[in-house]
Homo-oligomer: 358 residues x 4
């Protein structure tokens, strides 16, 4: 293909193009339209101990309040330059809320969830409904829902925040609004109102509001998630099927009113792999973030094995071959941007790709 | 409009039409296309004591077995002539299975459910998965699924069968196949396999088969239904909404994989009305069957009040004004053909119609 | 199975059941739940000449007007007893409107279409939009749309009316309302307003109302239908595919705003079979009515061949094996209740069933 | 909010965070989650004469062939730095194919269309179906469809290419494959095979392949588009509605098999505004590219009026207020990423925003 190295005509042409705010396809076609995805994001592991220690230091040095809004420390994928994004579409951050602190109400068009690795004592109030945060729970914050946090305990609490900030930023679709500085409801119920209406499998409250694109159930409790995974492995033990593969149980968190994803842009799942078992190796377009909830094992990323333990966080870029093997019973929380690709006709998956370094 | 009373030309014309297998619209337009629905079916109440006593007598006199298949006694709406149909679309029957009896496997294109007013000791085996039948439970039998019943106890058991036999018959869409005479699985688990996979609200088993037009969850247990209704009334007490109307809680049984109806042609619900409260009066196209599960009250049908108690069954024809008032806390099981009308663009509802006899 | 022939206990039981408005399943199970559909409707052919002559006689003897509403002569399937229904779900009638006659406005919850075998000079006004009726055209009348007809010519006109009257009647979902006696718009445009907006393939008018369950395009012109069929056979000649089978072209009339059926309960198609060719033999649940638009051939119904020519009408009951063979190029108009079965999960089709008489 | 200007503790903390590949939210919250979208992309106009002249120079200096693949000159939004993207999601380029040149077959996961401002003589072969390119035509190239171009005339031809390259690049979802170097079919039919099957409004070829996420109709001809716009303005003249607003007609190109967008990620429309009329001012999340097809007028972008004439191209970033006023009858081609926002629950529109500079 023509390059301008030896051709002043082309040099002039390219300079005139640049001046006219146009650019040739032919000199950069291979980069713009690669044979397979060429993500800038890298497979990467963040250690819980390291991130958590930084969160604790921020707890000492940085107040929570209006403007900064949240004491959240975001995973910044080293392949993505200076942006604090775990992957090109997903935001993952550790949020820290000190004893008796509050984080003020706001709302935004970005959709969010919280996942609780450990601790407790905080309530997230979503559109006026206080939701207790307990170990293993998944909490949702739908787009444009008012939300605030308050810690009623004498201990600090940390949790994982997941949002679609990078996607919404790239799409220039972000709106944000401040709410009242005061916490709207300081009550501390153990069951949220949305749970009272929607926590019963297959029982739709006829008079209940099913919400829109987001699940009307604001929290998925660990007791249920754990029981569901145990039941799958119990069936697997009896050869009855229902698991993803032998020794690999998994649930997807879904909207009980529609059966679809809990959030329109983010898929959320919990996986449990029996000690000594492996998941099927696969790669797919789109990116994931995984957090080890319990146990230890090895995650293999494009052929590179990485040992992981409780709390460790892993970013998996698009088309990166991925496999989990469990040393102990291994519980893994996963969120991904898969709904984006499925809705846009861009999904593609490859099972058992050859494990070769890129 | 022309009638043939005084006109031999018309007499001849109509005779020639009949001989040619055609017929005029104009002489019967008002009947074929009425101003509002003119159902042949009547509002009707069947008393549990009466029907149950007949079932017990059949238990003595009639064996269960191949050919007749089930010892089921069907509600025959007195407006529908000689067919054993509760309404033009819905079949409702009391099935009786004696101590240690079995009912042999078969399958059919009609879709079915069972609802348990009282008793126990029977397992329904659906596609090889034994499901225990306990008080208040709703069990599903999807179209074309193999199913059989076996009573392991020393007592007879009765329950309500609901099917779309009249609809499928009218549509000439019925297929039927005998299975093996022997019960395929005589085990008596308290939790069915489909429950193990699907009983957790919003937790989709990633490796599970979500089935097709019918819910993959074969049983909805009374403990959950009851808890959901209690939670709604608890929210109502606190003025939080979520009920159908003040003092009236209700859940619709739905497919956890899609959020839609449990069966493609039948909607199923459980209602609870607080003592002293009334439901909103309404009428709709399509027909319902209600069974009092617990308590007592009055059902008003096109202005006519009928006292009802435990087990009583009520058929509500199309466009019949319907209201419930509760003397005690009143639990009502309902099934209807509403999905048919919604899918075909024929649904119409009228709230608070004038309560006048037809 | 037990019968009461020899058992007074059973006689008493069955009498008591009848008195209590209940009925046993076991004595009539085989009829209620047959192995394959047992339609009462019969395969039947009506000859155009016969029906048309009766319509002309009605044109002389019977006025059109309020009450009877339309001078329509309905096909009455000889298997269905005394009801004027072509099949259990479909109404098919020849409507006759004399020179300069009008048929007054009304609307109803039944959905309707008109298909024009020959003639012209009539406009159907649908919700105020006059639509000219020309040979080969398909006109729609959505449920609950006001409609009226006026004949501006010196000749009578006949056409085929298709409706879901039997289905809506069986479902007790019929509503009807009279409109004004005077024709609302006596203008005679050659292009209807809905055509101006919606007749361009794949070009959605951004400001246009797409309607609801029914197509927003009120007429499908013969010129397009004919051209589409010719184009398919042209591709078939060149071995390019796109036909149903070799020598058999067909189009389904669809809603341009959604791609789905033109009417929520009725599928409508036009087929063209090359001289000397046959369609694939098939049977399906659900019923059809076919009208020969042009040409001649043989229709085989459950193994029985019937020669057909222009205008002849054929009713095909559920699960009746059906095949067309063309003597000349043969154009066939078809309407069916297939959408009902597909939406309710009851569809089943069998290709190349053995051609044996029932 | 805390900044590190005066606090060595924070300096240390932020340095340690950077070293650990994490970053604080609170220092950049306002940028990451803005009150309203803050697009980097700028409203921008490219003049046809300028871009076309550069394309002609490239025609002289740059061969077309394997590797670079296409002689396409892309609009490079001056706000987006060095990437050749018209907006953050949309690619727009002028492609130039010299007399008797060919562009070799390839396929890619990016979805594409061509719009022809003027000229002719080129066929685009899509999956083996040659499609003639004529003035005003819209051609589609579905994702992963083989396609190639060949110019059979003695003149060069230019056209507009639109793709979702930026979106697919950001999402790391790009796949690309080379095809054969030789043109697969050099025939020059005036009607493509997909047109023969799908060009008839509302007539679905029963035997035709409806494709998947993309329209099965590969070309939308100017004759139809023009006629549809004329018909709308004719209705508007008679006060009958159907237009977007008085004097503003518009069609959206849709998939005839489903009624949805022609491409899963790109909406495509043609607008016609009568001389002297204005469109309603609006802004929306998501971005557009407009090309003047015929006539002249003024486009107002966030309050700034820009005169435009034939061929001029305009990029409209997210949330930019946009209005068109026509000096002559003004035909405008538009493509946008609106389907992305609608599918992901991110759509938001504001009508008649105050026209103030940002």
């Amino acid at each position: 293909m023509a390059t301008s190295d030896i051709d002043p005509t082309l040099d002039n042409l390219y300079a005139d193009m640049a001046a006219a705010d146009v650019a040739p396809l032919w000199t950069q076609r291979e980069n713009l339209m690669p044979v397979t995805p060429l993500p800038a994001a890298l497979p990467h592991v963040w250690r819980w101990k390291v991130v958590h220690a930084l969160a604790e230091r921020a707890g000492v040095s940085v107040p929570v309040g209006r403007g900064g809004e949240r004491r959240a420390i975001a995973l910044a994928n080293p392949g993505l330059g200076n942006v604090p994004f775990a992957t090109p579409t997903l935001w993952a951050a550790i949020q820290y809320l000190g004893a008796h602190e509050t984080a003020p109400a706001h709302r935004h068009s970005q959709t969010a969830f919280r996942f609780v690795l450990h601790g407790g004592g905080v309530w997230t109030v979503v559109n006026g409904d206080p939701v207790e945060m307990r170990r293993g729970d998944l909490l949702l914050t739908p787009a444009w829902a008012w939300h605030e946090h308050h810690n009623t305990s004498d201990d600090a609490m940390t949790w994982l925040d997941g949002l679609d900030i990078p996607l919404v930023s790239q799409l220039d679709a972000g709106f944000f609004e401040y709410g009242r500085a005061e916490i709207s409801d300081r009550s501390t119920p153990s069951v949220a109102r949305s749970e009272q209406l929607w926590q019963y499998a297959g029982l739709r409250p006829i008079g209940g509001d099913a919400g829109g694109a987001c699940s009307p159930l604001m929290v998925y409790r660990w007791e249920s998630t754990d029981a569901a995974l145990r039941a799958q492995l119990d069936l697997d033990n009896r050869g009855e099927g229902g698991v993803v593969s032998r020794g690999h149980a998994a649930v997807r968190f879904t909207n009980p009113a529609t059966g679809s994803e809990v959030l329109p842009t983010i898929r959320i799942e919990m996986h449990r792999i029996r000690a000594g078992q492996k998941s099927v190796s696969r790669r797919a377009v789109g990116s994931d973030v995984w957090q080890v909830f319990d146990g230890s094992g090895v995650i293999t990323l494009d052929g590179l094995p990485v040992p992981v333990g409780e709390g460790d966080l892993v970013a998996v870029p698009s088309w990166c071959a991925f496999q989990i093997s469990a040393d102990t019973t291994l519980d893994l929380f996963r969120f991904s941007d898969a709904p984006v690709y499925e809705k846009l006709g861009l999904a593609r998956t490859d099972f058992e790709p050859e494990d070769k370094p890129r």
